[in-house]
């Protein structure tokens, strides 16, 4: 009770740079996909795909998540961020590390640069983790949303430990299993443990808030929390120790129950919403929610179909990764950017004027037209990239990658428009 301060919101100089860097990274990802050219369809995990993946999940998704989370900590934890200075340091070290890491993969510098890049990345992520955990400790709110966030932080630690382990193994070769085994663990923990848990934690607070729906069954989130974490914990132990394929399937079922329980919570929220018309930000968000079914389906195929030729197996695995990183995570972030960033900037620029004069609304800070066009390009791009990957069709990949570039450009225009918004006072009607 005593630490509930009057000013919990972080300064915008902590938050905004993450959105700028994230936007640039998204643009770089789109360009790299075009540059990777036919490498995208190569039958094994090549360094180009790994470079693009890391740029996407760290430079783009994680950076925006960091920025958004710093802003949301007051809302979810009801306390201020532990240290804004630490957050600024984390931003710069992360930015440099991501670029270095992506470069190391892109040029296949596995035995030279990669080790250093992964250590830098490890330290940067760790600074973030410390900041969030120390914020959580001083918070008195221990609700289910904040537990999801803390669990996601835990999985981020494990993900980066395994990732760094793989990087070191390239140089020193001490692991018995092939890299692909650890890569699978690294990728699964990163996507399910870190991103999915985090999105559920933040989404379970924000989505009902934006849809304006009351009286939701929080029990569904508890089921989701327990299932996902127990399932993932068993899965990790199984991969490291037992390697029992039956246990893998059981874990899969438990995790899927958790995901569906969350989906059901969101569906309730959607059904009970007071604000019927979805704006562009919520259209993205709902599309992201629906697209969770795709990786569930694809992972089921990967689990159950044993006799499958390697080439096809890798292609499906690539599609699986794509469906999570683009279908789910990127869609979610594109949508939530339109909900959170305008508010952050609006708050900064108009807080002193609100109530005293007529001010624009946050949604008037960006061009709705650009956002709409961006949405259609985005749907086109994920559909053609997805189809291209599955059908091994290079023309579809080309259409998809250039549409994605268009999305990235339009997105950046709107992000910059929001950030550099000039204060306007409306005439009193």
């Amino acid at each position: 009770m005593s630490d509930l301060k009057t000013n919990n919101a972080p300064h915008s100089s902590v938050v905004i740079p993450h959105f700028i860097f994230g936007g640039c990274s998204f643009l770089i990802v789109a360009i790299l996909i075009i540059l990777a050219d036919t490498n995208i369809l190569e039958a094994y995990f090549n360094s180009k795909i790994i470079a693009i993946t890391h740029m996407a999940v760290l430079g783009w998704a994680t950076m925006i998540v960091f920025g958004a989370l710093y802003q949301l900590i007051p809302v979810v934890f009801e306390t201020s961020l532990y240290s804004e200075k630490l957050a600024k340091i984390t931003f710069w070290t992360s930015a440099v590390s991501v670029l270095y890491l992506t470069y190391s993969f892109w040029v296949s510098a596995f035995t030279t640069h990669l080790v250093y890049a992964s250590v830098f990345m490890f330290i940067s992520l760790f600074l973030f983790i410390i900041n969030v955990i120390l914020s959580y400790i001083k918070s008195e709110i221990k609700n289910i949303s904040s537990k999801f966030i803390i669990a996601s932080i835990f999985w981020l630690v494990i993900t980066e430990l395994v990732g760094t382990l793989i990087a070191f193994n390239f140089k020193f070769n001490f692991l018995s299993q092939i890299h692909l085994h650890y890569l699978k663990i690294h990728a699964s923990l990163g996507t399910i443990g870190w991103f999915l848990s985090l999105i559920i934690g933040v989404g379970s607070t924000l989505i009902p808030m934006f849809l304006i729906s009351h009286q939701l069954k929080k029990e569904k989130l508890v089921v989701s929390f327990v299932s996902i974490n127990v399932g993932l914990l068993c899965l990790t132990l199984n991969w490291f120790i037992f390697s029992n394929s039956m246990l893998t399937i059981i874990c899969w079922v438990v995790i899927v129950i958790g995901v569906i329980s969350f989906m059901s919570f969101i569906y309730d929220s959607y059904k009970k919403r007071i604000r019927k018309k979805l704006d562009v930000g919520m259209q993205y968000t709902m599309l992201a929610m629906a697209s969770i079914f795709m990786p569930i389906l694809v992972s089921l195929i990967l689990l159950l179909v044993f006799k499958i030729e390697y080439e096809l197996l890798f292609r499906i695995a690539t599609f699986y990764g794509f469906s999570i990183i683009f279908g789910f995570i990127t869609t979610m972030i594109l949508g939530q950017t339109y909900k959170t960033l305008p508010f952050i900037v609006w708050l900064e620029k108009y807080k002193n004027l609100v109530g005293k004069t007529k001010t624009p609304l946050p949604r008037e800070l960006y061009s709705n037209k650009i956002a709409k066009i961006q949405f259609y390009f985005y749907v086109l791009s994920i559909l053609s990239l997805g189809l291209g990957l599955i059908l091994k069709n290079f023309i579809a990949i080309k259409i998809g990658s250039f549409s994605l570039l268009a999305v990235a450009i339009l997105y950046n225009i709107n992000v910059l428009k929001i950030i550099f918004h000039k204060v306007k006072i409306k005439d009193n009607e």
């Binding site: 005593s2 509930l4 301060k5 009057t6 934006f210 009351h214 007071i274 807080k351 609100v354 109530g355």
Partner: protein, 175 residues
Amino acid sequence: MNKDNLISLDVRPIISKGNDPFKEIMEIVNKLNNQQTLEIINSFEPIPLINKLKREGYITWTDKSDAVIVHTYFKKTTELKGSDELSLENNTTTFDEKFKQFVGKLKQIDVRDLEMPEPMITILEELEMLPIGNALFVEHKKVPQFLLPELKERNFEILYNKKTDNHMQLLIFKA
């Protein structure tokens, strides 16, 4: 105040029989939950009881509008999130006491069905129009984290009364 949560005890018959109602009152007081309010109906103001329960952290107020009957109310202190921190000058003020103080001078609004940031805009607009000495009573979903610094900036105090996880009452007035 909700009628269902009101427990009334008329102590006049007990006193007229020559007995002390103290034991009976305390039995009810000890069973009171956070929502319930005890109403003591008596012919005079029970000062010793009021002082005793005040020391134990109860909120109490008296209604002497009737010439012969005195109604005295007791209520447990509800969870007042951060009220002690935020009401910077008057640390002992509680939501209920303040609420009582502003009865008749309250503007009531409900922002639970508004989309962000309209709750904040609505509250600040209402505050601009609020007559001096009046208070704004807001039905809200949560602690309005981003509104707090602005209230402080404009010299307003805020008190909370948490009803449920999704329902919060705010009392905002000029410091």
